[in-house]
Amino acid sequence: MTSHIENFTSEDRSLLRDAVSRFVARHSAFPQRSTGGKPQEGQSLWSEIAELGLTGLLVNAQDGGTGGGDEELALVMEFFGHGLVVEPFLGTAVLGASLVDLLANKTQRDGWLPALVAGDLRIALAHFEATSGFARNPVMTRAETRTGGVVLRGAKSYVLDAPVAGMLLVSACELDGYSLFAVPVDATGVVLKPWTTVDGRAAADLMLNEVHVAESNRLGLPGQAGDALAWALDRATLAICSDALGSMQNLLAQTRDYLQTRRQFGQPLARFQVLQHRLVDMHIAIEESRALLGAARATLVHDSQQRTAAVAAAKYKVGQSARLVGEQSVQLHGAMGMTQDLPVSHHFKRLLTADAMFGDCDFQLERFRAAGGSVPG
C-alpha cells in the first residue's frame, strides 16, 4: 500500500508545488464556484488537471502515473482547498486510484489506469447509504452471484462526483464482508438522482435495481474488499483535511488583511484586542491541525488500530478548527463576510462540507474512543 512513498524527490515535489500553485492561480476558481444548483461542467479544467499529471498522482510510474504518495497528495489538496477547486479529484484520483491499485487484477489495471491517468475515466465511490449516516458499515446493498455474473440490489446515498463519473465503484455485502464492483454509470438498473452540495460539488443518490455485472467487473475477492475500502476512506479523509487546511489558510490571510485595512472608530479593526485574540485563536487552530494531520498521515503505513485513532483525531481537530475559522472569518468580516462577492463566504461553505465529509466531529470523537485512542508514547 505504501510502495510509492519514497518515489518523489524533494526536487520533484517542488516542481509539483510550482505546477499546482500556477494552476490554481490561473483559474483562481472563485467566483464561478458554488454558484448553487448546477453541477460544474469543468471538462476543460479536468483535462488540464490530467495534463499536469494530477489525475494519476497516486498511480505508480510503471502504470503510467506520477508515482506520488500521501505527502504529495496533501500538497495538492491544500492548493485545491485554497483555490476552491471542485473538480471530481477525490472520487477519481484518490478513492478510485487507491482502490484500483489495492484490489484490481492485471487486466483491470491495464483497462482502467491509462484512461484514469489520461483524464478520460472519472470514478465515484458508492459506499455510504441513507440509513448508515456517517457510519462506515452500510448493510442495505447486497451482491448475489448468478450464472454469468452478479446482481446488485440496494441504494447508495451521498455519492460524491457521481454525476460527472463514467464508472462507479459500488460496495455491496457478500459473504459476511464487502465486495466491490465496477459498474458503468449507464448500466441498466442504475438510477442516478444528481444534486449539488452547498459548496458546489456534484453528488448523487443512487438506486441499484437488479443491476447485472459481469464477474470480470469484480475488484478483489468476494467479501474481501473491506480492508481496502477502510484504508482508502482513511486516505480520502486525510485528503479532505488537507483541503480544509488550504481553505482555512486562505481565510486566515483574508481576515488578517481585512482587520488591517478596515477602519471603524478611528482605527483599524486590528487594533481591537478582542479581535486580535480571535485571529490568534484561528491561527493556533490551523497550526495545530496541520501538525496533527502530518502525524496522522504517517500512520497510513500502519495497521488499522493505530491508524484509525490517528485519522479520527486529525479529522476531529480539523473539523473543530474548520468551524472556528469559517465562522469567525465571516463574523470578523461583518456583513461583507455574508456576501457572494467575497471569497470568504465560499470558503465558509467549503469548510462546512469538509467538516461533514467522512464524518463530523461527534462521529470522529466516537471513532477515536472506540479505537482505544490515547496519547502515543
Binding site: G36, S132, A135, K193, T197, Q331, A335, Q340
Partner: protein, 398 residues
Amino acid sequence: MQFLHDPAITAFREEVRAFVRTELPEDIHRKVILGLELVKDDYVRWQKILHRKGWIVGHWPDHHGGCDWSPVQRYIFEDETTRAGAPWLTPFGVNYVGPVLYTYGNAAQQALHLPGIRSTDVWWCQGYSEPDAGSDLVAMTTRAERVGDHYRVNGRKIWTTMAQWADMMFCLARTGRDGRPQEGVSFLLIDMHAPGVSVRPIVTLEHCHHLNEVLLEDVMVPASHLVGEEGKGWTYAKFLLGNERVLVAEMGKVRRMLSQARTLAASIQEGGQCLLDNSRFADSLARCEIDARALDALCLAQLGAQQAGVTPGAEASMLKIRGSELQQSISRLTVDALARRGLPYSTETVLSDAPEAAEVPAGASGMLREYLYLRAATIYGGSNEIQRNILAKSLLDT
C-alpha cells in the same frame, strides 16, 4: 413570573394562538416551516390579515390605531405568532419608523404616513449603515443640504434590507458640520421612487437577495419630510433602536427551530439507529433546550422588571447575544443532522419551491439556507462585539 398566570394574559395567549391557527394562510405557513424564501406578497398578505384584526400595531397607543398592549402582551403576540410559523413581522414600518413618527413627527406627517404603515400599503426600509459606517454608525457621511424648501441628499447606504420592495426609506443624513458627530445628523423620509435613488442588489452566501446598496444622487427631499428637529436625528435613531427590547431574543423563533430540529433528527438514521438515539447528538440538542429555557426565563425576568416600572438599561444586549448565538447553535444542529446526507443545497428549492433534488427530508435546503443566513444574526442590529462593549460599559462605568 406572576403576570404570566394572570387570567387576562392566559386568555390573550389563547386568543392569539387560535387566531394564527385559523387565519395564517397555509401556503405562507408552509414556506416559513420549510425555510423557503418569501416574496413581498407573502409578507403583505399576512400583515394585512393582522391589520384587519388591529394587531399589526397592537403595541401602538390606541389613538394611533393600536391596542395599547403592555410589553408582556407584545411579547406573547410575537412568541405565539412566530412559533406557529407566521412570517417575520417586518419591523421597518410598524416597529421602527411608526413609533418615531407618532412620538416625534408632526400631525401632518402622522396623517400622511401612519395609515400606510398600518395597512402595509407602503413598504419601508431603513437607511442607516454606510460602506464606512457599520458598527461605527456615527461615522456616516451621507449629506443633506438645504436648498429652498428641499434637502438635496447625496450618499450611499448599504445592507439595506428589502430596499428592492420599498416605497419609502427613513434615512439618517448629515445636515450640520459642526459639533460632535452625533449632533449634525437628521432623520429624513425619502421616497424610493424619487429621481436619483437607485437600488443595487447584494446577493448573500445562501444565494438570496434581501440586502441592497442604495445610492442617493442629488435626491430632492421636501423639507416637510424632515422628522422632528434638524440635527436631532441621532436621538430619534437611538429611541428607535431601544424600542425592541425583549423582542431581540426572538424566543418564538427559537421554539420553532428547536421543534424542527427534533423532528428532523427523528427522521435521520445512523448505523440503523435514529439520530435522536445518538447520545452525542441528543446531548447537543438537550444543551440547546436548556439554553432556550434560560433565554425565556431571562426575557420574562426583564419583562417583570419593566412591568414593575424599572427603567431598562443595557440588558437587552444580553438577550441579543444569547438569542443570536442560540439560533446559530440550533441551526447548526440541523445542519449536523443533514450532513449525514451530504449537505445538498438547491436554490431552485429555496427560491421557487421545487422539490428537493436529493433523497433528504422535506425542507433540507430551507434549513441549510436558514443556517447560512443566520451567520448574520451575530452581525446585524449591532454586532455581538458591539453588544458586549455596551454591557462592559454599563458594568464598568457605574
